[in-house]
């Protein structure tokens, strides 16, 4: 069960190797979290992530999960929920793709969409139903500022996050009053493996900062969390910038 501050005792991470997810799990372990499931494609990295959490005292297990195989989600995630309550689900899987290559290779482009959006729709619904049955829990969805407005430089990724973001908001409304809380997290540019080698955007942040914001959001039972918080203002301004002008902005 979560405590008065929204801190979970059990956590399921979808996309167990994500750096933001790891930073969040490490932070929560220092609070209350003792039971952790890391879902992801079986790999040495996934095992290493699990071991790092075990070393910090959390009872951590891994479960095979492939965002690109929605048919398997029900079985894979059902197993986790059958073992006991999950106080928090963190949907952290996703891929940035390579905009230039993906524009030239439509099949590669759909893989970004399938991972970030389609996979999240099916996994999100499976988790939402399980959380609703247990009458409590938080579903934390990692969206992105890229979801807020399409940009020339990453609109394939951005559009997939926009779909995910809209889906998560709707799901949050659908689950309102069921004891289940859906929180959409919109980080800006996060310095991580995913963005290695990319030119840093203004207001860049770190996985640790995102973890801090997630913990604070759980405490407030927030529906939307921007990281850093100033992005909320920046984006609400940028959203209204006319397109001819927006195209010329160095964002």
């Amino acid at each position: 069960m979560k405590d008065a501050f929204g801190t979970p005792q059990s956590l399921l991470v979808l996309g167990g190797t994500s750096e933001i997810a790891q930073a969040t799990a490490h932070r929560l372990v220092t609070r209350r979290t003792r039971d952790i499931w890391l879902a992801g494609r079986p790999s040495p990295t996934l095992e290493r992530s699990a071991q790092a959490l075990r070393d910090r005292g959390a009872d951590t297990r891994t479960v095979p999960f492939d965002a690109l195989d929605p048919e398997s989600h029900e079985t894979a995630l059902g197993k986790v929920f059958a073992e006991g309550d999950v106080d928090m689900v963190l949907m952290a899987f996703g891929t940035l793709g390579d905009q230039a290559r993906d524009e030239a290779d439509p099949v590669a482009a759909t893989r970004v969409a399938q991972t970030n959006y389609t996979g999240a729709v099916s996994a999100g619904l499976v988790c939402a139903r399980a959380l609703q049955a247990q009458g409590h829990g938080s579903l934390v969805v990692l969206s992105s500022v890229a979801a807020e407005r399409a940009r020339r430089s990453n609109f394939i990724y951005g559009s997939s996050k926009a779909g995910l973001d809209a889906f998560a908001q709707g799901l949050g409304d659908a689950l309102h009053g069921t004891g289940v809380h859906v929180m959409v997290v919109r980080p800006g540019f996060v310095r991580s493996r995913m963005t290695a080698g990319l030119e840093e955007a203004p207001l860049a942040t770190t996985p640790q900062a995102v973890a801090v914001a997630i913990e604070a959001g759980l405490r407030r039972r927030a529906e939307t969390v921007w990281v850093p918080g100033r992005l909320r203002l920046v984006m609400s301004a940028l959203r209204h910038v006319p397109r001819p002008l927006f195209r010329r902005l160095p964002v």
Binding site: M1, H136, G177, R219
Partner: protein, 456 residues
């Protein structure tokens, strides 16, 4: 086979405790009779059920995520009152407020009342509540002769005081069964007025000395502490002690209806108040005024029972002033001889600058035999703090450890955040409680968010 078709399952509704933190959803069923309660229990498959009274437990004791919650306020009959001996037989859903309404005109008073009248008799036993008279009268269960308990197998047992099941249930947070009916012994009173002495204490040591020296002279005793005062004023307090006023202490006008019980009610707190209304400045200002307003020393002031015992009940939904994020109530006890631990804890709270305007210190007397009953002979401090206060989670975890190391404990009826690891140190009879539950309720029909969180 019943001829009546089963009622449609009610949809899940979100429920939280009085502190309004961590809401979870459950099917809320409201039995109106003993038979309906038995039926409701039978329908508690899967994620189990828990009884709920008026929802005054601060934390998650009367919530059951994904399962059933039995709202017991539908069982609200007072069956018999023996006006000679003050023995009352009533349903578990009867509130202490209602008991006062029927008992006071007959010259009887509830034996123990917490800071609110809006608790049920079932809840009072389940949390084994205490009041300002603990040093004299012990906790609620001391005055309970017997109760009827609906257990997991669907049978109803009459449980007399003194037995194992009685001791597991008194303070057992509803996890041994559903209390349906209880037999209580009440306290004879001459009037519905209190004769109250008030004095100020300049700091914590002064306060502790005054309480130690004079507590035994009063039936009711409590001290309000200003936890925002620092330096030499750390722990400054207002002591309020009193007893039921005898008839001859009343002025002529009041003597015409000496047993009148008409509590005043102010308008309810608005439904939506911004979070952060109570911060260090506003609460500091309130505390300063509250301390200055109290007389240095005043004796024999007459007060109505409602204003002496339950000043906050006058403002319905006062818990809303903490805003959407709610608040955390922290109450612990440390035994006599552990005064140094108490001083350390008060210092830590003061240093953290917790905006608490309801901090209460009192001395407990002898403990009662409830296995998970909270009181033990010693000092108890209760405070409430807005849940959004930065660093609060860590501060309270640290205090838990101090309390446990000093052989003390935290009150489960108010808890919403304790770590399960510290529990067994605080409640040494926990293994006996668990064993009895395993025997009586092998499928864990009785479950609550509290029991899941702490592994009770």
């Amino acid at each position: 086979m019943s001829a009546v078709p089963p009622a449609p399952t009610p949809p899940a509704v979100p429920l939280s405790g009085w502190g309004r933190t961590a809401p979870t959803a459950a099917r809320l069923v409201r039995p109106r009779s003993r038979e309906e309660a038995v039926d409701a229990l039978r329908a508690c498959a899967g994620r189990g059920g828990i009884a709920r009274g008026l929802g005054r437990a601060y934390g998650d004791a009367a919530q059951n995520a994904g399962g059933a919650v039995l709202d017991m306020t539908g069982l609200d009959r007072v069956h018999t009152i023996d006006a000679d001996t003050g023995t009352v037989v009533c349903d578990a859903g009867v509130s202490l407020h209602h008991l006062m309404e029927v008992l006071l005109p007959l010259g009887w008073f509830v034996p123990v009342t917490p800071g609110t009248r809006y608790v049920t008799v079932g809840g009072a036993i389940g949390a084994d509540i205490h009041g300002k008279n603990h040093h004299v009268s012990g906790s609620f269960s001391r005055h309970v002769r017997s109760f009827d308990l609906l257990t997991a197998d669907g049978s109803v047992r009459t449980v007399k005081s003194g037995g194992k099941l009685f001791n597991a249930t008194a303070g057992g947070m509803g996890l041994t069964g559903v209390i349906l009916k209880a037999k209580l012994r009440c306290l004879p009173v001459g009037t519905s007025f209190m004769s109250v002495d008030t004095e100020r204490a300049s700091d914590l040591d002064d306060l502790m000395a005054r309480l130690t020296a004079t507590d035994h002279r009063y039936r009711y005793s409590v001290a309000w502490i200003d936890l925002l005062a620092r330096g030499a004023a750390t722990g400054r307090a207002v002591l309020t002690r009193g007893d039921h006023a005898p008839l001859d202490a009343l002025p002529d006008r009041a003597r015409r209806a000496p047993l009148d019980f008409r509590p005043r009610r102010l308008p309810a707190a608005p439904a939506f108040l911004p979070e952060g209304l109570l911060h260090r400045t506003t609460v500091g200002l309130f505390n300063e005024l509250w301390y200055r307003r109290a007389p240095r020393s005043r004796t024999g002031e007459l007060q109505r029972v409602s204003s002496f015992f339950h000043p906050l009940d006058g403002v319905p939904h006062w818990n809303r002033v903490y805003g959407r994020g709610g608040f955390v109530q922290y109450q612990f006890v440390v035994g006599y001889g552990q005064e140094e631990a108490l001083r350390r804890i008060v210092r830590r709270i003061t240093e953290h600058r917790c905006p608490s305007f309801l901090a209460v210190l009192k001395r407990f007397g002898d403990a009662d035999p409830g296995w998970l009953s909270f009181p033990l002979p010693g000092w108890t401090l209760a405070l409430d703090i807005p849940a959004h206060l930065p660093g609060l989670a860590r501060l309270l975890d640290g205090l838990d450890e101090e309390v446990a190391a000093a052989g003390g404990r935290v009150y489960l009826a108010k808890d919403s955040r304790m770590r399960p690891e510290v529990l067994s140190a605080m409640y040494p009879q926990l293994p006996a409680f668990r064993a009895l539950r395993a025997e009586l309720d092998p499928d864990a029909v009785f479950r609550s968010d509290l029991s899941r969180r702490l592994g009770l």
